[in-house]
Subunit: 331 residues, 2 copies
């Protein structure tokens, strides 16, 4: 079997471009003892990957230059020398942007595709959904009757998070860029959809739909979204800081209006989190998600590009707002 | 009895000046039933008062135009028609910037001056000390062996907070403006004193004395101090946001470098607080403070101006770094 895979050529500042990557065709060997061969069906592109392209160690190591961009992927076993995985089984891996591979069976997680499609394990039922859940449940501790502002509400985490928050009994304001995404937001049941590109004062737009302000804010964007959140949060308001996609491609530090004194006057709590630090509540997540899905409360959206060579374009599209829901590459 | 008192003439933007106030002489009536007459000995000036001069309701009402600037004061009872207070008793009040007054006895708190001087109830043993304690104990939850950065370390809250943190077993880095204040910081036992005015990169100065960074940050300043804290906090670092004196006189919003993505990558927790929301731990505060003072661990500093007409100058001095320790006006 041959596999095309996407390698990173160099660490970068600023927005990624095609020249940062190479598409390389390799031979996939037959599985040795304990190994399996997998043909991927979908690969995931996620904003956090941008940090790994800067060459700086944060909570996660940088990508290796000249090696595959690793990350979430689902596929089907085509050959197995590993007890516990058979040909035809579906698996999730972190083996990244490639059509197929041979790897140790113990680096793979078998997934059940009888109820959910395989790619759901990259989205609502995977780390994307878990990220939204951790932010709402553990960091914000969202209560029924509260008002939540979900930023990037049409994004992968935002779109499932907005639906989780509705299922938890909150009033949900969601922001997104463009009328089409706002239509989508209404279709998934948010109470108020705001097109941030069509307003020149985001805080005023929030207060227009919720004069008392917001009890909690789920941060996926950063920059002026952050300052508008400080302005509209009510006393003892909480902010979960999940991502700041507005900033990931900044080559130089940007400036922002300093309204941080709101943190004192309103006794705000702002907390960043990495989903992998909170896997202890994964059992609660699966239980709640199953209940919400059985009740028809969750409709995950996907934006799909086809062909491994489209992975860089799909990834860059995340920063240009090209996706509604989870961005995937179909192999 | 006559009393001179300081009235606020107008709400303001920017730095306060002498024209914002009037000094007015009034007659202090004899106490009616339930009232006492008090001659103040010290009045307190505090940074939070700046917010009350802007005419905007926050967690506390604005000052009244044409009325006394109210705030903490201590004094001695000179006449009493109230059961429980006698001539010669020392009392603390929130009746503010005046030489004396007649008020209901139940608006006063009797204080014990046999161990601590009266003005300590405006400082280390009062809301100033309690503020430092709440920030360290409840918001940061400082542990022995951790490294804390105390900003405005020579200020009222900062100077007692730095000593509390040492008593709690932490390594303390304190910043202040000028060599003289840094000498003072060394005299009260902080591990590292940094003159922020003598460095052009505060984060580098912190890392020079603590290469691993800081576990916790006590925010009294804001602006570039805040960004340097985000840069130097370690994973799961905590920030208590008590004040941002750098910003209180801003007439227009200032800009700040946006390095907020550190909140995600390092899973930081940032929490603002108002001391009055945490009075439930006042018992713990008194117990710990007594123990630390008996062990000789706490040496509060005071900067004292004399005469009620100096209250505006003392207050403005807070924003110009004129005080070491608690700023007081002696009557």
């Amino acid at each position: 079997m041959k596999s095309r895979e996407v390698h990173l050529n160099e660490y970068l500042k600023g927005a990624p471009s095609a020249s940062n990557y190479s598409v390389v065709e390799v031979d996939v060997p037959a599985p040795a003892d304990g190994e399996v061969t997998v043909r991927n069906s979908y690969i995931s592109v996620d904003p956090y990957m941008r940090g790994r392209m800067s060459g700086i160690k944060t909570y996660i190591d940088p990508f290796q230059i000249g090696a595959v961009m690793d990350g979430g992927a689902v596929g089907e076993v085509t050959a197995s020398n590993f007890d516990g995985l058979e040909v035809g089984d579906h698996v999730m891996s972190m083996h990244g942007w490639r059509e197929g591979y041979t790897k140790p069976g113990n680096s793979l997680m078998k997934i059940d595709t009888s109820i959910l499609p395989a790619q759901a394990y990259l989205g609502v039922a995977g780390l994307t959904g878990m990220t939204a859940y951790v932010g709402l449940k553990r960091i914000i501790n969202l209560q029924a009757g509260e008002t939540l502002w979900m930023s990037a509400g049409a994004g992968a985490v935002g779109s499932v998070g907005a639906q989780f928050a509705k299922a938890m009994g909150a009033t949900v304001i969601a922001t997104a860029g463009g009328a089409e995404k706002c239509e989508y937001l209404k279709s998934i049941g948010v109470d108020h959809a705001i097109d941030y590109k069509a307003t020149d004062n985001l805080a005023d737009a929030i207060r227009e739909v919720s004069p008392k302000g917001i009890d909690a804010y789920f941060e996926n964007v950063g920059g002026p979204h952050f300052t508008a959140a400080l302005e509209t949060l009510t006393g003892r308001g909480r902010m979960a800081v999940c991502g700041m996609i507005h900033r990931y491609n900044d080559a130089e530090p940007s400036m922002i209006a300093d309204n941080l004194t709101y943190i004192i006057g309103k006794s705000l709590k702002i907390e960043g989190f990495i989903v992998s630090d909170h896997m202890d509540i994964q059992g609660d997540f699966i239980k709640d998600l199953t209940e919400w899905m059985m009740a028809g409360k969750i409709n995950p959206a996907e934006t799909i590009l086809e062909g491994i060579e489209k992975a860089p374009e799909a990834f860059t599209g995340l920063f240009e707002g090209k996706n509604t829901g989870k961005m995937l590459v179909k192999i």
